[in-house]
Symmetry: none
Subunit: 172 residues, 2 copies
Amino acid sequence: MVRGKTEIKRIDNDVSRRMSFVKRRAGLLKKANELAVLCDVDLGVLVFSDHGAGAGQPSDYCSPHTSWSELIQRYETITNVQLQDTYDDEDEDADDQMFMFKEIVGLRRERDRLQASLRRQTGEDLPSGATKEELDTLDQQLELALAKVRERKDKLMDQQLDESYHKVTVIL
Amino acid sequence: MVRGKTEIKRIDNDVSRRMSFVKRRAGLLKKANELAVLCDVDLGVLVFSDHGAGAGQPSDYCSPHTSWSELIQRYETITNVQLQDTYDDEDEDADDQMFMFKEIVGLRRERDRLQASLRRQTGEDLPSGATKEELDTLDQQLELALAKVRERKDKLMDQQLDESYHKVTVIL
DNA sequence: TTTGCTATGTATAACAG
DNA sequence: TCTGTTATACATAGCAA
């Protein structure tokens, strides 16, 4: 933050504001991940790119071992505040049913989307029209995942070696 | 962050972990506010203090001019694609409601399971108690996926080379 | 436990290509 | 618009009281 303290007010310049947005959003999501992992807590971050009824995809982070739906449910339970809008018209029953119906439709779609992602991620079902860029991205993701798995395996082996070593010293 | 780089893994010491949690949570919420104000965007942060079904009140931040319910609604609207299916407004009885309710519960569970699989598959969230066998299986799956992606890339390259070749022959 | 300090690592505003 | 660099502000781990 060069040149004096950063005053916390809307950045007027469009270019600067967008640049700041991209950088700070990345920073926020990174911090969120660090907090979740270091302190072993559940949390979620949800960021929309433009504050109108915007077009852009939101970014979000959800800590390991949980999910947005779970976070929201817990929040509701604890605060006793209803976060998800329920329809509040004259005919409550019909509106409840409408809500549930939409929920089911949405959930089925999301399930399908997730299943497709999973199939793609396991190479079972690569999109036939995939471009080189898409394949490269997937390749990188898989390499990264593989590196993480192997790092974990190495740690596990080291741990076991260490245990064996201790056993040996005890025996000796 | 005195004494060497901070490795991003669970802090084992209880006292240190709680201290870090309080400090980092404050930092995260502050950053969230700065991002919302400086860049004029909508966002929310939700943090639970302990990751069990815990007792602690959650902390949250929600950007000015919006609310959690609005954020969640927008997120669902955008993420779930369109909810264009028609809703049958006939009288539905309690059995139907029960059915729908069970369907929702089941679908949410499945979604969570799929999200977890996906995170595991991308190495984002390897189960902490994973055995060597599990890790080996995952390793093999990833290798397989990588091989398929690369095979596809090779085909794509060959195809493009082939096209170039034909162009050349036509020109000649 | 909570508060405050400080050395050091990190995030990022401004700029350049 | 995106990417990389750098100087500076900011966040925070480890202590101490």
